[in-house]
Symmetry: C2
Subunit: 229 residues, 2 copies
DNA sequence: GTCTATACTGAGATAGAC
DNA sequence: GTCTATCTCAGTATAGAC
């Protein structure tokens, strides 16, 4: 909703609602969107405690008090950003990791989608990583209900695939965390990866090589059932 | 050096160096060790910017100014902790991922060692994760020299193993990051894993199930060469 | 509805007593 | 060498002008 809002749209929306009003400032809708986009960047850089409202205000091009006026406390703003992110979190799996698909096709599509997320919204991935590192206090309810059910659905998919001899039996929870950690590393650990490859920033070729490596690990695993047959 | 120092050793070391001195406080050696141990815990909980010198002083049981007296700035203390951690970082690979071993044995031993590290020193793992999330500014030199050469040595090991038909050819950098991200997840993402499993904290059985899953992905990959033969 | 000025708190750091 | 008291400053948040 806010993730692709260009900075220019903030300026575009500046207009005087009433002729006599001095310095009308940025209207509510554009300001809120700009603040959310800036908050995603700044929280993604420094985490919750490391980020300052000042920096978010500067990034968003709004006066600092407006952030409190629109969102209340810093924590409430942070939770708004987290909610925005988490709606995106689960979408891909419901497209790909479903019994109707072939196992190999499902895993490949899902892993490609997760790698695309790491490339396109690294700040969102990092905010989530910070939050989990901190102990996930702000999203514990979400993790232990919504995400847990989400994993349970994947478990049923894997069971079907296993019965159809498309993959071996495996612990679904730990397989999902293996896929999540490998793909999210290309956002969360990008500084480390780029330092080792010697590139100043991750190239398309780095994402492609990472994708191929992960695909070989996970799809190679699916082959195991054929070895035993 | 400091990682296994029990809190009790702090108290044990309290003694008066000179009879007439009023309130001698904790001697330097014990105080420094206590501060480093406390810093690892607190930085591991909140990251660099999120941690406060106050909290570290409280944890260590020393007055706040002593931290500045012994370590200078907060950042210098943080770098001392990082150095402590990084010496442990590379040790295991030089034991296991060497051409003298069999590929399967080497991968299994290495992955077991990394999982043990995540279980035994989760704070150390999390400090590293925070630092990399922040952009790795404090360890960039280390990553682009020491760690890079370390990965290059692994690349030579994998080449040998490949020539001996023990494993297929693969991008060594991305294989190492796959293993690191999967194993470190059991420290860095433990809050998320425990929320999904429903356990309040990770059990031994969770680490064991994770270990088996990772081993199957990586060792299954080694089997691929046999499929093609 | 928007923004300037400011209050209040806790941070890192230091001077100087003991 | 150690610790109490304090300084300075950035942080969040708010009161009130426009």
């Amino acid at each position: 909703m806010t993730e692709t809002l260009p900075p220019s749209s903030v300026g575009r929306a500046v207009h005087r609602t009433r002729p006599g009003t001095p310095r009308p400032g940025i209207p509510r809708q554009a300001a809120e969107a700009a603040i959310l986009a800036a908050a995603e960047r700044v929280f993604g850089l420094h985490g919750f405690r490391g980020a300052s409202v000042n920096e978010i205000a500067r990034e968003a091009g709004v006066p600092k008090p407006n952030i409190h006026y629109y969102f209340g406390t810093k924590e409430e703003l942070y939770c708004s950003v987290l909610e925005n992110i988490m709606t995106f979190w689960l979408r891909d799996a419901d497209d790909w990791l479903v019994p109707e698909r072939r196992a190999r096709e499902g895993f490949e599509g899902y892993i490609r989608a997760k790698m695309a997320f790491s490339r396109e919204r690294p700040d969102a991935s990092r905010i989530f990583a910070y939050e989990v590192l901190q102990g996930a206090g702000n999203i514990h309810h979400y993790l232990s209900t919504t995400l847990r059910e989400h994993v349970a659905r994947r478990a049923r998919t894997f069971e079907v695939w296993h019965r159809e001899r498309q993959m071996p039996a495996i612990d679904p929870v730990h397989l999902m965390f293996a896929i999540w950690s490998m793909t999210q590393a290309y956002a969360d650990m990008s500084a480390q990866i780029s330092a080792v490859t010697g590139h100043a920033v991750l190239h398309d070729s780095d994402f492609e090589a990472g994708l191929q490596t992960i695909l070989r690990l996970v799809l190679g695993f699916c082959n195991d059932i054929e070895d035993r047959a």
